[in-house]
């Protein structure tokens, strides 16, 4: 997947949750939203992007990415 698109999507969540949930809770809300709505391959890619410096991630998004749990092995 195009990583820039994933970064944009995650950053857009940060725009919402920073105000809706408050800056302290935003990372948790973003991480929860991604976990509940994103296909594991997208989640994995974002986690990897975070590990490699997280270029372009807003602060709340970057914090959220650190909270993401890598998906387990998928059924073959």
């Amino acid at each position: 997947m195009n990583i820039q698109n994933l970064v944009n999507m995650a950053n857009d969540m940060s725009n919402f949750f920073n105000s809706a949930a408050g800056e302290a809770d935003a990372p948790r809300e973003i991480a929860s939203f991604i976990t509940r709505h994103w296909d594991p391959r997208m989640r994995s890619q974002l986690i990897e992007h975070g590990k490699s410096g997280g270029e372009g991630l807003y602060p709340a998004t970057a914090a959220a990415v650190k909270l993401l749990v890598p998906p387990g092995p998928r059924p073959a």
Partner: protein
């Protein structure tokens, strides 16, 4: 001409205390306000009539329904005389018969003599009355002046007007005004010269007539007659079914002869449409038998190969083997499917079941992704349920309508007419829309406020409205205290009160004068029952979900929820958007909007389906396309959906579709997506199958088979066949069994069955033990989620910005005569009203560019370029251009971008920065499109391929 099934009571029903009177010696009890005519028919009698029909207010012009009333002089008209306690009415007497005969003779003296020539035949009410009264001769002769040589108006593609058969009863004129609200017809002239004319006597086609057909249905003679009736003759039977166009979900009586539809007549007891229809539902069903229909399954190895016609079995086996090959090679998650909002609930349910159970993935999505997915998110989180809160009838108790980003008279025309009726009764109207839509100003309707905001600033506007509510003490404190969570409300209140959200501060963003916002906010909050109606102008934005949250916030804050006349009402675009969403079509939810992480629900499905459902969410449509481009997604089953035309950034979509190794498309026609397909399953129209649709008010209505599927299988049967070929049995023999399974698995549908639908006509979910006959109004005593939840909705500008290179904002919408991608309506005579997409541009912007009406203009965005014809109009504001997307060659979505809603990925169709220039030739994309289209049609026409024609 009325429906074959109709028992017409002559005047409308009323509600009131009981009144008992005597009619022909029998005691009759009816509500106060009932006419004597209606009371007599309710008691089983029948008073002759011509100008009366129960869809219209009494008029009292034909003088046929005269009765005798004890204590009253003369012979009052029973249609205009209301019942009173103890009244004694006589409906038959020698004198009354004599008077009625005299009237009928006068009518017949200027009416075609031979009813065999008339398409109305024995259903002509005038001839029926004459027969009932025994009038066989006309004493006046036919030699005097008459209207028998009047020219027939054949201009409308669906009906003729023959003035020689017209009795000038005004039913058509009144239907146009009272029911449709267009007021296109009038009686011109006086006395003998009186005649029905359209607009300024321009003929129907050139007039303001919107071809809803209410006049045709109301005509008691053959003066206004459907052309189909003239061609096909009188029907043999009537089947009640549901329209397959917009989210209003009108109920129709399909009059059928030899498996052909002769007429579609809206059901007067249809709870969604109350006896009304539009030009699409009533007339534009001809696509179902259009020559372009593909009626044989087809396969091909590559999209550059000719199509090869095969048996259903071979098509199933080929598709299944390809999907299994791809899963073996690229992994289980490399495939997916899309359910259709144009198919039935049962069909949507089966497609998602096939994907989850047979393919073992949650990569399933539905076309609501690109329209109302933010509604699901926003309303679920605030109110607790992903649906509108009201019945359509509720609008008749509304005092203030707030219409945001919706154009009901074009997109939901039957409900638009209901709104107009209520507005004529005195309800107030606020329109928030960048364009001057019809509701802003039309005959007998004028919006009290038109908040003509800049596209993309909805959230700024709703926040400034909320600011007024919060800071001017307009919050319904008692409602909020009792019904909503206090903490989130307090945070929302503090946020809204911030000066940055005031109308004055936001004026620079929205472009709406602060005084108008303040006035509108006060009106909505204090004007009585306030109801919000919204459409894709709310959802199709980068902040679509935020705006839905904002709308729900506003309704809760003002206590406008939980009773008739109020509520939050998304106007759904397609006939079964609500249903497709309800059926578990989203990749993260099972039927009834239950998240995959809910292990109890998952176990229920696992047990019923005999599989283990993956607990991880699947890919959404845009994610599938992205994954196709990166090589991790290789096969897709698309039922009744056309992303190559309907989804944004066409070139991105077609590149993704081209990269699939197996694309299965199930559709009536070789749509744009099918041109990239390897397997084609011929679809079945709504006339060819049984099932249910769920409309925008959560109303589940039956779709009933009128003709056998042209391709031999209904869509649900094809999905069953495909699943079987994949090794997963779905042993249904009728869609009612699928609904039984849905009811078993889905709490809001527990009480739904075909038997109950047949008995009640339709059911609004939730329908369960607590509400065995359904739920017209939701959240009455408490919200579905318990307490209502407010959300802070910060305005965040879209990243799609105007600049020197792209100085205008393009926004998109629909037109009355066409429907979405146009696959259906383009194959009907509706093209006579609208045969190409045009770009509306303000005179100022047009003049700056040297553009005049009708010029070809290039519309260039960051995503692409297309060329369309200009329509210069001040309906749009300076700086904004507007187009529709009904014709594939227009390439409206070549210019829309990949921007999408933060929560749902619903595309931001409504905001695209563009430049407009005058040009002389099609765009490069359009040239490629034409070439590719021609190539694909050649491959379809190759030997072995087959269409209905």
């Amino acid at each position: 001409m009325q429906s074959l099934n109709l028992h017409d009571h002559g005047t409308p029903a009323t509600v009131g205390a009981s009144v008992t009177l005597d009619i022909d010696g029998a005691q009759v009890t009816v509500p106060a306000g009932t006419s004597v005519m209606r009371a007599a028919t309710l008691a089983g009698g029948a008073i002759p009539k011509l100008c009366a029909t129960d869809s219209l207010a009494a008029f009292g012009s034909c003088r046929l329904c005269l009765v005798e009333i004890e204590g009253q002089r003369g012979f009052p008209a029973s249609c205009t005389t209301l019942v009173s306690p103890g009244m004694k009415v006589r409906t038959e007497s020698e004198k009354l018969t004599s008077l009625r005969k005299g009237v009928v003779e006068l009518y017949l003296s200027d009416h075609p003599e031979d009813c065999k020539e008339c398409a109305a035949g024995t259903r002509c009410e005038l001839h029926q009355v004459a027969q009932d009264l025994g009038v066989t001769e006309v004493r006046y002769g036919r030699d005097g002046a008459n209207h028998q040589h009047s020219k027939v108006d054949e201009s409308n593609p669906y009906f003729n007007f023959d003035p020689s058969a017209c009795i000038v009863c005004s039913r058509c004129v009144r239907a146009c005004g009272e029911v449709q609200g267009t007021f296109a017809l009038t009686i011109d002239g006086r006395g003998f010269a009186s005649r029905v004319v359209a607009s300024q006597d321009e003929g129907f086609m050139d007039s303001e007539c919107v071809s809803c057909g209410a006049c045709v249905e109301s005509c008691p003679t053959g003066a206004l007659t459907e052309k189909s009736l003239m061609t096909l003759g009188q029907p043999e039977k009537v089947v009640t079914t549901t329209c397959a166009y917009c989210g209003v979900g009108c109920s129709f009586e399909a009059e059928v002869k030899d498996q052909q539809v002769v007429r579609m007549v809206p059901s007067r007891d249809g709870k969604a449409n109350r006896g009304h229809a539009c030009v699409k539902g009533r007339f534009a069903y001809g696509y179902a038998t259009h020559a372009d229909r593909i009626t044989k399954p087809m396969i091909r190895s590559k999209i550059t190969d000719p199509w090869r016609e095969v048996s259903w079995d071979e098509a199933f086996k080929y598709a299944a083997s390809e999907f299994r090959r791809i899963q073996a090679q690229y992994g289980r998650q490399s495939v997916g499917g899309i359910t259709s909002s144009r198919c039935t609930n049962e069909e949507a349910f089966l497609v998602q079941k096939l994907v989850r159970a047979a393919l073992g993935t949650n990569n399933v999505d539905t076309c609501a992704r690109v329209c109302h997915s933010p509604t699901g998110y926003g309303l679920k989180h605030t109110l607790g349920e992903s649906s509108g809160t009201q019945a359509f009838d509720s609008v008749m108790k509304t005092d203030v309508m707030l219409v945001i980003g919706a154009n009901p008279t074009e997109g939901h025309p039957v409900f638009g007419s209901r709104m107009k009726r209520r507005l004529r009764e005195g309800a107030k109207l606020i329109v928030a829309d960048p364009r001057e839509i019809d509701l802003v100003r039309s005959p007998h309707v004028q919006a009290d406020y038109h908040l003509q905001l800049r596209p993309g600033t909805n959230v700024a506007l709703i926040n400034s409205i909320a600011h007024v509510v919060v800071t001017e003490g307009l919050v319904n404190e008692a409602f909020v205290a009792e019904r909503c969570e206090p903490g989130p409300f307090q945070r929302w209140r503090e946020f809204c009160a911030l000066e940055k959200n005031s109308p004055e501060a936001m004026q620079a963003v929205t472009g709406v004068p602060a005084a108008l916002v303040r006035g509108a906010a006060r009106l909505y909050a204090t004007g009585g029952n306030g109801a919000i109606y919204y459409g894709l102008g709310v959802t199709e934005h980068s902040q679509g979900s935020t705006m839905v949250l904002g709308i729900a916030n506003l309704a809760m804050a003002t206590g406008n929820i939980g009773r008739e006349g109020v509520g939050v009402n998304p106007l759904r675009g397609q006939n079964n958007v609500q249903g497709a969403c309800d059926m578990g079509s989203f990749p993260h939810e099972l039927a009834g909007y239950r998240h995959l992480s809910d292990s109890v629900t998952r176990e229920l499905f696992n047990g019923t389906w005999g599989v283990t459902i993956d607990s991880e969410p699947g890919l959404r449509i845009p994610n599938m396309l992205e994954a196709a481009l990166d090589g991790s997604f290789k096969a897709m089953y698309v039922q009744g959906e056309d992303p190559a035309q309907s989804d944004p950034n066409t070139q991105h979509v077609t590149a993704a579709l081209s990269s699939l190794e197996c694309l299965v498309v199930q559709d009536l026609f070789l749509n744009e997506t099918a041109k990239y397909a390897h397997v084609f399953f011929p679809g079945s129209s709504f006339l060819e199958k049984d099932g249910t649709f769920t409309n925008a008010e959560r109303r589940i209505s039956r779709v009933r088979k009128i003709m056998e599927p042209l391709a031999g299988l209904a869509d649900w049967e094809a999905t069953v066949g495909f699943a079987k070929a994949l090794g997963y049995d779905m042993p249904y023999t009728h869609p009612s069994q699928i609904m039984d399974e849905i009811a078993h698995l889905t709490p809001a549908f527990t009480g739904v069955s075909y038997e109950k639908l047949d008995r009640l006509g339709s059911i609004q979910w939730p329908c369960n033990e607590a509400a065995p006959e359904g739920t017209p109004t939701m959240h009455v005593d408490e919200f579905v989620r318990g307490k209502g939840r407010f959300y802070v909705t910060e305005y965040v500008p879209t990243r799609e910005r105007v600049n020197m290179r792209f100085p205008l904002i393009l926004t998109t919408g629909r037109i009355l005569s066409q429907y979405n991608v146009g696959a259906q309506t383009r194959r009907t005579a509706n093209v006579e009203w609208y045969d190409e997409d045009r770009v509306e541009i303000h005179p100022h912007d047009a003049e700056e560019r040297g553009v005049v009406d009708g010029d070809w203009i290039g519309v260039i965005s960051r995503a692409g370029e297309t060329v369309l014809r200009a329509a210069v109009t001040d309906r749009v504001q300076p700086g904004v251009v507007y187009t529709t997307f009904h014709f594939p060659e227009s390439g409206a979505n070549v210019i829309t971008t990949d921007n999408s809603d933060w929560a749902t990925n619903c595309p931001e169709y409504k905001v695209t920065a563009v430049q407009v220039v005058k040009v002389a030739q099609p765009s490069a994309w359009q040239k490629r499109f034409r070439q590719q289209n021609e190539q694909q049609l050649e491959l379809l026409r190759a030997p072995g391929s087959h269409t209905a024609g």
